[in-house]
Structure formats: C-alpha cells, structure tokens
C-alpha cells in the first residue's frame, strides 16, 4: 500500500541545451505509471524555461506543470536545484519522482533521496506497478544481472534509462494546469564558472537511434575515418571500445561500456570490437547489433543479430557505398 499522503508521479524535466527530449521519454513512463496507480502526473521545470515549455509538457501528458522559475536555477548548481526540488516535493508529497539517468539527473536524484528520506533506484528500465506495490528493474554487474527493486519508503526517486520509453506524443490543446512556484535561493558553495557545448554536429551517444562503433580492430586513428563516414551516411553517433580510446584514437566521451556510456540504440554496429563483458555492459540492450569482425568466434559476433565476417577496412566503405547508392536511388 502506498502512503495516502504521498501520491502522484513527478517528472523532473531537466533540459539539455534547450531540448526536453529526455523529459518526453519520462512523460511516457510517468503517464503509464500514473494511469496504473490512478494518480496524477506532474512535471517540473527549473530556471528560465522557454515560454512554450510548460504547454509542451501538458500536451505530452502532464496534468500539472510546476515552474520553479529563478535565474539561479538555470545554472548547474545542484545544491540549489536540489533545495528547490526538495521544497516542492515536501509541499506536494509526490510518491514517485522521475529523473533522466544523466550526470545531472543522477546527482539531483541522489540528493533528493537523502533529503526526502526516499528510496532510490538508478538506471531503471522497467516499471511494474502491481498489487504488491511498485517493483522496478535495473541492471547491475555491468549488465550481467538484472535486479528487481522494491521500495520501503512512502516516496521514491528513480532515474530512468534513456531510449527505453518512446517520447510522449503531443496532443494539441490537451488541458492541464501550469503553476509558477516562487523560490528564494539561499547561498550555496557551488559556483558556475563556464561551459562548453559539444562540437557542433556531433550526435550524442545517449540519444542516438543509430550508433557506429569502432574498436582495436580498426588498427589506427585513421581507421576511424570509415566509421565516421558510415555514421555520417546514416546520421548515426560514433562510439568506441576502451581499447580504441586508450590507444588515443578517439576521445573518451565516445567510449561505450562499463567505464563509459550505457546506451540502448535501435542499431549498434560494432566494427573490430571483440565484445568483452565490459563493452557488452554498455550496449547489449541495443535492439539490433551488427558485428563486423575478422574473427567469427569472438563474443561480439556471437551476440550479434547480424554477423558479418571479414576485414573491417574492406567491408565498411562497401556498406557506406551501398547506403549512399540506395539513398541516391530513393531520391531519383
């Protein structure tokens, strides 16, 4: 039984460079959870969100949107953002609080769990609200074990994995409330110094449907050229194994796996990657795995949906060529 006082699902709509894409996925998960529990779905915006953001969240399923409007909350000051969210949650007594599994989402969720005495589960990929209460599933041991987690507290905080729930569609004109919430910031010891956006045109691994990834089998930094060319042809993000990153062929932010990013793309193309357990940890939930490898017996070829045996240097440009050819044909 859920505590009567703590009910309602809250989506914390953290923006990333003006995009609320992660929040749209949370709204899908949150809506279905709220419907099952027969509770309300709320969302909260922080900082100085664009004027249409609250409406957007309503049209995508929120019954109510709280706007914690204050310039200071638009900066990455987790102490302050957490304080504002704690204040709202204590007043509204939400039962389930959902964050994206991003660096910021994870840290804020961690702070809220302590301040609200709420159980926390991160990287949740399945929510099951049954008779016996809420059960969620998350991976541990680098994806080798699935844990089923229950909560003993009246409220709980979760970070949800990206790319698991589809973005909530917009229903133009959908009704919902928007409420501005006053917040008086107190001094914190976190000072924002500067930020630098990722190179323009670079697709973030975490939000990419398609990922082309390269490993030690590429042989050299130049080996990534055909990987990038294929990624460009597909509109895919570029990933890498640790071996390729450690060799200095590609920056760490591209690393997939236990030490890098955990992703769930629709397509993961592993080029010259053997598929060690720590790499699989980051991508084994991809819907379709393509492996291109000269060793047909390696773990990645065994894990693959589609295994292509051969020399990656030879096959990659041919695959890119085929795709260009079909695109050209489609246009003509």
């Amino acid at each position: 039984m859920t505590n009567k006082l703590d009910s309602g699902v809250l989506v914390v709509a953290l923006g990333s460079r003006g995009s609320l894409a992660a929040a749209h996925e949370l709204l899908t998960a949150g809506r279905s959870l709220a419907d099952t529990l027969k509770e309300r779905l709320s969302a909260v915006l922080l900082g100085r969100p664009p004027a249409e953001a609250a409406r957007d969240l309503v049209e995508r399923g929120a019954d109510k949107v709280f706007v914690l409007e204050h310039e200071a909350l638009s900066r990455p000051d987790e102490e302050l953002q957490a304080a504002a969210l704690v204040q709202l949650c204590q007043k509204e007594r939400f039962g389930k609080i959902l964050f994206p599994s991003s660096v910021a989402g994870r840290s804020l969720a961690a702070r809220l769990s302590v301040k609200l005495k709420a159980a926390i589960a991160t990287d949740v990929f399945a929510l099951d609200a049954g008779e016996a209460g809420l059960k969620v599933r998350r991976a541990g041991y680098g994806g080798n074990i699935i844990g089923e987690v229950e909560f003993a507290s009246p409220s709980c905080v979760m970070t949800l994995q990206g790319m698991v729930w589809p973005p909530a569609p917009k229903t133009p004109g959908r009704a919902g409330q928007v409420e501005a919430v006053a917040f008086a910031p107190s001094a914190t010891r976190t000072e924002f110094v500067s930020s630098q956006a990722q190179e323009a045109g670079e697709i973030d691994l975490g939000g990419a449907d398609l990922v082309v990834s390269g490993g030690r089998g590429l042989g050299s930094p130049e080996g990534f050229k055909p990987v990038r060319a294929l990624a460009k042809a597909l509109g895919a993000a570029v990933g890498a194994s640790r071996a390729a990153v450690d060799a200095g062929w590609i920056p760490y932010r591209h690393q997939v796996g236990l030490t890098g990013r955990t992703i769930r793309p629709k397509l993961y193309m592993a080029c010259g990657i053997s598929g060690q357990i720590q790499h699989l940890a980051g991508m084994s939930s991809a819907k379709t795995i393509v492996a291109i490898n000269s060793d047909p017996e390696c773990p990645m070829m065994k894990a693959a949906t589609l295994a292509v045996a051969g020399d990656v240097h030879e096959i990659l440009p041919l695959v890119t060529g085929e795709i260009m050819k079909r695109r050209g044909a489609a246009v003509a």
Partner: protein
C-alpha cells in the same frame, strides 16, 4: 595554491569478475568464493588523491570503506598505491545496506574524522562495478550539506577554500568551483592510475586498519544495514538471452555489404 589538504577517498571492495551467477533458491547473486578487490573505478579516485598530495605538501590521504571485514583488502590495495591510512566501517549491523544507508554511514565516518582534524576533499570513483549506481558521492554530500560534482574529468585548481573541477556531461563539459569541504566523483579520463609499489604493498600489509562500528559512528540500529535501507532487492536474475542472430553470407565483401544493407532496410532498422 593551497596548503596541505586532508583528502579522503571512499572505496568499495567489489568482485573482480562480473561473470557472477544467481543462486536459483535464493534468487540472489552467489557471493561465496567470489574474488574481490578494490573497485576498478576507485583506482582513479585513489590516484587523484595521491597526485593532489604530491602537488600540495602537507596533505594527508585516507581511505574509508563500508563493508564486511574482507573489504579491508580494498583498503590495503589503496594503501599499497600510497594512501597513508585507512578506516573500515564494519559490523554485522551494516549488512544489507542500500546506497541510502551506505552514504549515511560514510557521512557519519567523515564527521567522526572531521572531529579530529578537518576533512577538505572527499573523492569517489564513477560507480561501483557491481551496483553500478554512481550516486554515493552526491548522497554523502547531501547528508553533510556539502557541494559536490560528479563525472569530474579534471581538477583544475585547488585553494584553501575551493576546488575547481571540469565535468564531462552528455552534451559537453562545464567547470564548477566548489567551496571546501566538497565531494568529487571522478571518471577514467581524470588520470592514469599507478600500480602498487613493492614497498607500498609491504607497508600496506602491516598497516593497522581501525574498525568503526555503527555505535562508534553514533548511528542507531535502525539507521544502518537493511533496517536503515529504503530500497530492497527482491530478486536477481540473469538477463534474458538475446534472440539468436544470423551470419550475413556472401562470396565477396561487396556481396556481404549489399546483403547487410538489404536486411537492415527490410527490417526498417535504417
């Protein structure tokens, strides 16, 4: 430039292999006989503490862990790399701790340490390789009302009163200045960990590691272990196996490439 800083590294003893198995009766991961060591991600936090100490003479380094008696192994490993002292928070009362209870115990240990001499900076790894949560750093910070930063790839500078760090985010990087004391969770990019030295190993082996119980930390029985935890693992299982794949056949590489693209288009993957 800061004078000496008192740096604490929070570490965990974790399985060396992730190829663990579930006991079908208990539906929990079998821990008996699992070999454990310092969580590989904590090596970066340990290394960063050592580098700061080398840069800022007069600094001290200490490692702390919450865990069973065997977790001493991880602390000795940190010491073999150069960490000067260690404390193990341990006792049967801590069994079954979730991140909420673990972070509370760590925060209490930090308070106890700070009562003796100030703690300036607390370092964490990215996450543990078994739990994979990556939240204990900011949770400890929340218990102590400290600033914190996760995913830190560089410590830009440290003064007596602040640490400036650069974080790796999903869509770029940013730089924050945190007033001390602060909690910083690291990522692999931050450094290249050194290996334990022979001398380090010898002195780590001989080191006396104090054990603190919940009572030593001023924590009650309901505040630690499973009683003090809010999240409970109901069951663990192996992930469902992936549907069997197929080999893309072809007499030449060109044929294989064409076939692959055919299938991807046919299945509406691209």
């Amino acid at each position: 430039m800061a004078m000496g800083l008192n740096i604490v590294v929070c570490v965990k003893d974790t399985p060396t292999s992730l190829g663990v198995h579930v006991d079908s009766a208990t539906k929990r991961v079998k821990h008996d006989g699992l070999q454990t060591a310092l969580n590989p991600f904590d090596e970066y936090a340990v290394e960063e503490a050592l580098r700061l100490k080398e840069k800022l003479p007069g600094s001290t380094t200490l490692a702390v862990s919450v865990g069973p008696p065997s977790a001493e192994g991880a602390l000795r490993e940190a010491m073999s790399r150069g960490i000067e002292s260690a404390v193990l928070v341990s006792g049967p009362e801590f069994a079954g701790s979730d991140t909420y209870a673990t972070s509370r115990a760590l925060a209490a240990a930090l308070r106890k340490l700070a009562a003796d001499k100030p703690v300036h900076l607390v370092l964490f790894g990215k996450s543990s390789n078994d739990g994979n949560s990556g939240i204990v750093g900011p949770q400890v910070a929340a218990w102590l009302d400290w600033p914190s930063a996760s995913s830190v790839k560089k410590i830009e500078s440290v003064t007596d009163s602040a640490v400036t760090v650069t974080r790796m985010l999903e869509d770029g990087i940013d730089t924050l200045k945190l007033g001390l004391p602060a909690a910083v969770s690291t990522v692999k990019e931050i450094n290249e960990p050194r290996l334990p030295s022979l001398k380090g190993k010898l002195s780590a082996k001989k080191a006396v590691i104090p054990r603190w119980t919940a009572a030593d930390l001023g924590l009650g029985a309901s505040e630690v272990g499973s009683a003090g935890s809010l999240a409970r693992i109901a069951a663990e299982s192996a992930p469902p196996s992936r549907p069997a794949g197929m080999t893309v056949e072809g007499a030449t590489s060109a044929e294989k490439a064409a076939k692959l693209v055919d299938i991807l288009i046919e299945r509406k993957v691209i």
